[in-house]
Point group: C3
Chain length 155, copies 3
């Protein structure tokens, strides 16, 4: 079995440094063997991508890419929570996927698959998670997708 | 005290088979003694019911029925997580209720009571749960209600 | 270090009595050392404040006050969960912030800072939490903000 770092390379993913907290909340909190990761945006080098709404000015393919980008930023935070060692993740427990969409849009699950598929590619069976995917009115900074995560980790 | 199976019969509820996963996420994940259940839709025999939005083309009574149907599908997943024995549920911890609604609609709690009331009917005191109920822009497949769940279970 | 009660006084906060449950759900559930607090509204003496939507009839400053009011009501529930002793809170784990907003509004994080900043003021380092902030179509009773919470507590 390939290592997690090798799988990330195979996915063409370079994890960014986990950004420092910007306010009175933090990117992740560990309680017991659970790590709660704050809602992540589709951000690259501090710049938000894929602005707008699904069903309007963001198409399905872009939405999937936005969700994948959120997932990459989640992984960067989980890696920091595990002191740099993602093999300490024993299970991806839950992803919460928020898609900015028009009232008529119906394909929120397909969008959030962009995040779910990356978890499966990186963690294999341990990447299979519970999930909620919903369509919201708007998201911070005008992005189209926000994803939060919950992980089970070992010491 | 009636058994949980007898209470389900009294409620006129027949639990469906827990549907198999359709993508890189799963209907539930168990971590420690917690079971996280993915957002469930008001689906019967693979077909979604109660399409539309509260405040528009779905009325309050239909919304309550939609939430109850989501809760039935949650129970089907929890039953699978407990190897068929719902008496292993020691507490319904949390329900997350998402109601597709117009900006003017205000009765989201009444809608989600359709799910909460079933938990109370089935589990009694152990069915009293924390809850969030919010109004979203849209939901997968155009349904009016989605509910996710968190349960505490014994071995 | 000031006691938590002294910090609440310094913030000008008087915690209300924790309201009794109104339906088949409850304001909080404790499982293990985690306390899940139901979504709280910006309510004072049983009356909802700051009705409307951000980006429309509620301005940013009012939204921040609404989020702070939700956080005060969360603290009242956590205090009840800790038998009146907030020093038993070992960590604020997560806040879920829902902001009723127009599709054009982008400053949901600033709004929810009204809740996050109170947690930091009251709990210090233990108040630093994971967070999701999203913009929803509508909220119960027409309020502009709803916040739910998750806390780690000691016996």
């Amino acid at each position: 079995m390939d290592s997690i770092d090798e799988r990330l390379i195979a996915e063409g993913v370079t994890l960014p440094d986990a950004p420092a907290p910007a306010a009175n909340y933090v990117p992740f909190v560990k309680t017991g063997n659970l790590v709660f990761v704050s809602g992540q945006l589709p951000m690259v080098d501090g710049e938000c991508r894929y602005l707008g709404r699904l069903g309007d000015d963001v198409d399905l393919e872009e939405g999937v890419k936005a969700a994948r980008l959120c997932a990459i930023n989640i992984l960067a935070q989980v890696k920091a929570a595990c002191d740099g060692d993602l093999s300490r993740v024993t299970r991806v427990v839950r992803l919460g996927g928020f898609v900015a969409s028009t009232p008529e849009f119906e394909q929120h699950p397909t969008v959030i698959n962009g995040a779910s598929d990356l978890m499966a590619a990186v963690f294999g069976e341990a990447g299979a998670h519970a999930r909620a995917a919903v369509g919201v009115a708007a998201l911070p900074r005008g992005v189209s997708v926000e994803v939060e995560g919950l992980f089970e980790v070992s010491e």
